[in-house]
């Protein structure tokens, strides 16, 4: 099967600029997308989709740096602005207009907080981007794994949902899979946080009765019921928390946690 696949050479902004070109979109990978072993698979799946549909894209590669989100939510406004101003300098130097990212934290920060500091871009979360590709018929959601009848529950990311009112795009993407979508009781605007936001990802939880991700995983597992199921996420931190929760509940044989981009790549037959 080797001859049926081709090696992707992910283009960087620097390479394009050297050729005097500009991409249609900048794919902002994010730290989790670049370093977290599990989330790297999401980054790769999303790039496969970009290559598959032939969008002219590029990444910053090693020129990318943390948006400053975890610093800002932890209260370190100084470090946040340091990161933001440096990133804005890079982005503006490349004349970036449109940014797509798979991380709701990067999305929220660049979209809402960079404009005050001189960074004005059209910022799109990959859920909205994937929804557009499906609506435009560029992704057919066929040729790969069949999801018909599989139980999937979508876990809302706070920074996508409540923070930016994006509730339908990830659900529309999942609806294209023709799976059996089930909603948790606490969903959309009433969704329960996975426990990682506000820089909690990088610290131990404060003393309490329970971990938040366990509370949320229990709700997801109860919603999926017995047998196999998928918890769909659209955020790297949610993915870590839900994965840990499923492992804690010893359900990893039955229940898998996937990002919506991975599910689309699987359904499209891109991730063989």
């Amino acid at each position: 099967m080797e001859e049926n696949k081709r090696l992707i050479k992910v283009p960087t902004m620097a390479q394009l600029a050297a050729n005097g070109e500009e991409p249609e979109i900048l794919f902002w990978v994010g730290c989790a997308g670049a370093f977290d072993d599990r989330y790297k698979r999401v980054t790769r799946a999303f790039v496969q989709i970009l290559e598959h549909v032939g969008v002219k894209y590029a990444v910053l590669g090693t020129e990318e740096s943390c948006t400053g989100d975890p610093a800002k939510r932890a209260g370190n406004e100084f470090l946040f602005q340091m990161q933001a101003l440096t990133n804005i300098e890079v982005l503006n130097a490349y004349n970036v207009k449109k940014i797509v990212t798979a991380c709701p934290h990067c999305f929220n920060t660049i979209k809402n907080e960079y404009p005050d500091l001189g960074g004005n871009y059209e910022v799109i979360h990959h859920s909205t981007f994937l929804q557009q590709l499906i609506n435009e018929g560029k992704v057919h959601v066929q040729g790969g794994e069949a999801f018909k009848g599989k139980r999937i529950t979508y876990h809302d990311s706070c920074y996508l949902g409540r923070a930016n009112d994006i509730y339908e795009a990830p659900r529309d993407v999942l609806a294209a899979l023709d799976a059996d979508l089930v909603e948790m009781k606490r969903s959309r605007a009433n969704g329960l946080c996975c426990g990682a936001g506000g820089a909690q990802m990088f610290k131990e939880a404060e003393p309490g009765r329970k971990e938040i991700n366990i509370e949320r995983t229990e709700e997801a597992l109860a919603t999926l019921g017995d047998g196999e199921g998928v918890i769909a996420t659209a955020c790297p931190f949610c993915m870590v928390m839900m994965n840990d929760g499923v492992k804690n509940k010893e359900q990893e044989q039955n229940v898998k946690v996937f990002d919506i981009a991975e599910l689309i790549a699987q359904a499209e037959g891109l991730s063989k």
């Binding site: 730290c31 990444v59 929220n108 500091l117 610290k203």
Partner: protein, 457 residues
């Protein structure tokens, strides 16, 4: 005819209203302890929001039963004010049911009034039940639900019931008197009609009952009005301005401190000229803390939030940290802000925060410091927040609990470098590697190695 009664009434009303104005001035002064913030943009969207969220009670309907019961009390309050207006005019000029000339409109109003008054009694009784018997967790539990907030809620509900009963006593006696005298009473009284014989048929007794009912109702209302600034019930006034001035930006957008921007730009670009620092009236530069340590570091809107809070606990009941047993309770953050503001500024007529501060504080290890941070709100509470905005989303009167939590956190980090060690490690990683984890920046692009896609034929 104007008699001695009318003069007494006039004095009582003037004292009641005067005291209320005096209290409102104190409240205004307290709110203005806060930093200035510009919230006058986009008036049409603000009015829209006020109509939907405040007048229309949109966010109440996330929970149906309390929303419907609350609607009875709310509409009852609005409509019954028309009768209060009449009572005022009658009281001053010695008239009797002066609005009666409106004929069928008056009848309709009085009929609606009576039905609503009955519904208010039922709703308040159910509310009392929920607080004291079935003990709905968000109303009964929580470290911030100390003696005063619990008593306050019951005082309000019982007062409302008494006021409605006084209104009925007045109407019933009035109705029976008119019947005895054989003339038609203007208005229509579907509920009082059912109990028309409740006070017998003695004209003297009936006149007394009507008089007492009337006086209890009007004095009750004036007393109630003056109780408001000491109470969570103040939300019936503050909800409207608070929603009007609420955040119109996406909830994920946190404030940016321009003073820090200038500092960093001056560091990055040596030629950068930051604007001249703000000076106070005496010409001394204003030293502004980064983040908030005490109430004067918060904005007036954040202080207004705390006067608007009705302590319903919806925020705390949806807080992921609170649900899982952490110390954080967004409601407590807001109530603490109010208590501290009144400790530092002025207090209203009845509530004195220091009298109640000691009552039943469990597990919250506050210090003796006379500041909002540590003296009321501990770092443990602040560090439990996931910034998920569930509290903000849930608040029926658009309080922004998260903004206050964030400003207190900022003070801990920027002024005291008092972040938990693991977060300091994360900061160091971002500074050194441009990522919150300790991976070398040069590895950032390794994810792209050996990546394939099926080729299209």
């Amino acid at each position: 005819m104007i008699g001695i009664e009318n003069i007494i009434f006039l004095i009582v009303a003037a004292v009641g209203i005067g005291l209320f104005v005096w209290q409102i001035r104190k409240i205004r002064k307290n709110v203005l302890l806060g930093r200035d913030t510009d919230l006058v943009d986009n008036p049409s969207e603000r009015i829209n929001k006020t109509l939907l969220v405040a007048f229309g009670q949109q966010k109440m309907f996330k929970r149906m039963l309390p929303a419907v019961l609350h609607l009875f009390v709310y509409v009852g309050f609005l409509v019954i004010n028309i009768e209060v207006l009449e009572i005022m005019i009658d009281g001053i000029f010695g008239t009797h049911r002066v609005l009666g000339f409106m004929g069928p409109i008056y009848s309709g109003l009085m009929a609606i009034n009576e039905v609503l008054a009955a519904l208010v009694i039922i709703a308040c009784a159910i509310f009392l039940w929920r607080r004291n018997v079935s003990r709905v967790p968000r109303l009964a539990n929580g470290v911030e639900m100390r003696a005063w907030p619990k008593m306050d809620a019951n005082v309000i509900l019982i007062t409302e019931i008494v006021l409605m009963f006084a209104l009925f006593a007045f109407n019933i006696a009035d109705l029976k008197l008119a019947e005895l005298r054989g003339h038609e009473l203007p208005g229509s009284f579907p509920v009082s009609q059912l109990f028309v014989n409740a006070f017998g048929a003695d004209a003297g007794t009936l006149a007394t009952v009507a008089g007492v009912g009337w006086w209890i109702h009007i004095i009750g209302i004036l007393a109630f009005m003056n109780y408001l600034p000491s109470s969570k019930h103040f939300h019936i006034i503050m909800a409207f301005p608070n929603v009007y001035f609420s955040k119109l930006l996406p909830k994920g957008k946190f404030t940016t401190n321009p003073a820090i921007t200038h500092e960093i730009k001056a560091m990055l670009v040596p030629s950068y000229q930051p604007p001249a620092p703000e000076v106070d009236a005496a010409g001394n530069p204003v030293v502004q803390r980064f983040g908030a340590k005490d109430v004067e570091d918060l904005t007036w809107k954040q202080l207004m939030d705390s006067y608007t809070c009705t302590e319903c606990g919806r925020c705390t009941s949806v807080c992921p940290a609170n649900i899982t047993g952490k110390l954080l309770s967004p409601r407590k953050i807001i109530m603490d802000t109010r208590d501290r503001m009144e400790e530092k500024g002025e207090h209203p007529a009845i509530f004195r925060p220091n009298h109640y501060k000691e009552m039943g504080v469990e597990r919250v290890a506050t210090t003796e410091e006379k500041t909002l941070l540590r003296g009321y709100i501990t770092p443990e509470e602040l560090w439990a927040c996931t910034t998920c905005n569930a509290c903000v989303e849930s608040c029926p009167v658009n309080i922004d609990q998260l903004s206050t939590i964030m400003d207190l956190r900022r003070y801990l980090v920027l002024e005291e470098s008092a972040a938990p060690a693991s977060l300091n490690a994360m900061f160091t990683n971002i500074e050194n590697n441009g990522a919150p984890w300790a991976f070398p920046a040069s590895d950032r692009f390794n994810w792209a190695d050996e990546l394939y896609v099926p080729s299209k034929n």
